[in-house]
């Protein structure tokens, strides 16, 4: 995307250091970093549907999405794999960024102080790029029969 024209240097083409974008823009790095993995993106989409999730429920939901099925049809093995990757990688990563909090005793994931910016960005994306993932994540357990 960068078209550097070799030795060409028009005035103003190179931005001086004091012309950096403000801090609020720079922090978008954190948003993109947080959303760079599909499982983290899915997790954030589910936070649009509900601000609090149990880790195991979420693992089943994500495994269902990845396997194009419903949570009840997910095998224990697949659910465990997602559960492990959430617990050991993605949830602590998002907690590091202040996007979620995690209570290890109750295994509850909840929105945290920086979640708003991320969820807003996702809502913008949802309209175009990621709508299948979003609508699956947002589909509260409506199709799930609780018995």
């Amino acid at each position: 995307m960068c078209d550097q024209g070799g030795g060409e240097s028009r005035s103003g083409a190179q931005k001086p250091a004091d012309d950096l974008p403000p801090a609020g823009i720079l922090s978008l790095d954190h948003v993109f970093e947080a959303l760079s993995h599909p499982r983290r993106r899915y997790l954030c989409y589910t936070l649009l549907a509900s601000p609090e999730w149990n880790l195991e429920t979420l693992a089943a939901k994500i495994a269902a999405w990845e396997n194009d099925t419903i949570p009840e049809a997910v095998t224990d093995e697949r659910r465990n794999q997602v559960y492990v990757s959430l617990y050991h990688a993605h949830v602590p990563k998002l907690a590091d960024e202040g996007i979620v909090s995690f209570d290890p005793d109750t295994e509850t994931i909840a929105v945290a102080q920086n979640s708003k910016q991320v969820l807003r960005a996702l809502e913008g994306l949802g309209g175009s790029l990621d709508s299948a993932q979003e609508s699956h994540a947002r589909a509260q357990d409506s199709e799930e029969t609780d018995q």
Partner: protein, 136 residues
Amino acid sequence: MSMSNDDGAEDSSPTSNRGAMLAQQHFDPRGDGDLTTTIVYTVAEADGVEPPELMDEPLYDSVDATALEATLFRNGHASGSRTGTGTLSFEYLDYVVTVGDDGWVKVYERQEGTDGAGPSGPDAPETADEPDEPGA
């Protein structure tokens, strides 16, 4: 334990804290799973527990395995030393874990008495880790 497909470059990492190898599993970057899962499953095998029960400490506290996966397997193939990255090792729980760019994840006993001796200590290799921000 001499059946190693380690190439010599790996031996520059501190091996003094490594005891016997307890478990190994192969990670396939083209498969369904991710590296985090393979590492945790291999440690669980060494530990003799089911993977979801290994919850003393998130792996993330030792290493960002998602970033490690991108570094070692960026091109989507696990084939020894084509990327030239070699093998990375870190400590997790009571183990030393190595991840090779051939996809092999190996878990070793951690020997006592070498705490903090090597560059692959328990500190995650994060970049922005400065505790003291100079006030603007």
